[in-house]
């Protein structure tokens, strides 16, 4: 019986089925908890899912590579999801046209703050070069950030983790920071979260209100595009001048 069970385990752990299934189960457990806690920011579903899965993999002695051979099917969807951002962006086209100057200025300032402050703080505290390069694109959505890290010589897989951490931190902190600054306008709140905390912040904003979510999606799409242009250019200039 035991040997039979082991056979099945060996077979299953070699197929992509298991990684895919446990990811979906873990996410739904995490999301259920999050919904039951009335969407409290501290119970972020990405953070809870990652903790559940990392715990499970460690307990069963499964490697990340084995897990990812299944989970990659979910990871892959980040590409088409990025393209799909064109739709919420288009839904806000009228406001985009009316407010494009304010949006653009706030976006560039936010985008620069995100990159420069992250690298500067980590550098001041003694992080090494690969970590710094991997931190630079931390505020943009994973596929874009991994692409940037690769271009500038960071570690794409480390960047992916830092991006997810940033998203969770942003989704958790946003309410407290924005309340302290007495920012009540949902468009402004959403936009700021989208610039700082990409898709995870956007998912959080959509749970707060439709308006906040639309502006967060807008910010995330624009920030992805602008960071993808600016960061590699900045590093190219730096490495050619210095």
């Amino acid at each position: 019986m035991n040997a039979r069970f082991e056979d099945i385990w060996v077979y299953l752990s070699a197929t992509p089925l298991l990684g895919l299934t446990v990811t979906l189960i873990a996410y739904q457990i995490a999301y259920g908890l999050y919904a039951r806690a009335k969407f409290h920011p501290l119970l972020n579903p990405v953070a809870v899912s990652v903790a559940l899965l990392a715990g499970l993999l460690t307990l069963t002695g499964t490697s990340y590579q084995t897990y990812f051979s299944g989970a990659q099917f979910i990871h892959f969807l980040l590409g088409p999801a990025t393209v799909a951002l064109a739709l919420p962006l288009y839904a806000q086209f009228a406001r985009l046209k009316a407010e494009w100057r304010s949006l653009l200025i706030a976006l560039v300032a936010g985008s620069l703050t995100a990159t420069v402050s992250a690298v500067a703080i980590a550098w001041a505290l003694g992080a090494n070069k690969a970590t710094l390069l991997s931190l630079a694109p931390k505020s943009v959505t994973t596929p874009i950030a991994m692409g940037i890290a690769e271009k500038i010589g960071g570690l794409p897989s480390l960047t992916a983790v830092l991006v997810v951490c940033t998203g969770i931190i942003g989704a958790v902190l946003a309410k407290y920071v924005l309340d302290a600054l007495r920012i009540a306008d949902h468009a402004v709140r959403g936009f700021a979260v989208g610039v700082a905390a990409h898709g995870i912040g956007t998912a959080r904003a959509f749970q707060v209100s439709e308006e906040a979510g639309a502006f967060a999606g807008l910010a995330m799409g624009l920030n992805g595009a602008i960071t993808a242009l600016m960061v590699p250019l900045a590093f190219w200039l730096l490495s050619n001048i210095a």
Partner: protein
């Protein structure tokens, strides 16, 4: 849903071809997104089916970050060694970014109603 999903993949593919073909620093999906946005603007409306499919995907956006997040397992050593700079940097920088963006955007909006 299937035609809409196929359309998203076609835009992504064309985006990748352009990004790699011209050796651009911008990732393919971003080019795909910008092209789809331009198409919608030129067309003057978004097809309902495409809108529903995109909304469906974006509703579960946070799920898509989970596999990358679990990658924290393979970077435990590096993150433990540099926990202080990484954590302080992520927390401060993220809070600062939210504050700068929100304050500036709110101020600009008030000036230009």
């Amino acid at each position: 849903m299937l035609p809409a999903f196929t359309l998203l993949l076609i835009y992504q593919t064309v985006g990748e071809i352009i990004a790699h073909g011209l050796d651009l620093p911008v990732p393919g999906p971003v080019i795909g997104m910008l092209m789809l946005f331009a198409t919608l603007v030129a067309r003057g409306s978004a097809p309902e089916q495409l809108r529903d499919t995109a909304n469906g995907m974006l509703t579960h956006l946070s799920l898509l970050f989970v596999p990358a997040g679990v990658g924290v397992m393979i970077h435990v050593e590096r993150i433990r060694g540099e926990a202080l700079p990484i954590l302080v940097s992520l927390i401060l920088s993220t809070a600062l970014t939210i504050a700068v963006t929100a304050l500036l955007f709110a101020w600009l909006r008030r000036r230009r109603p």
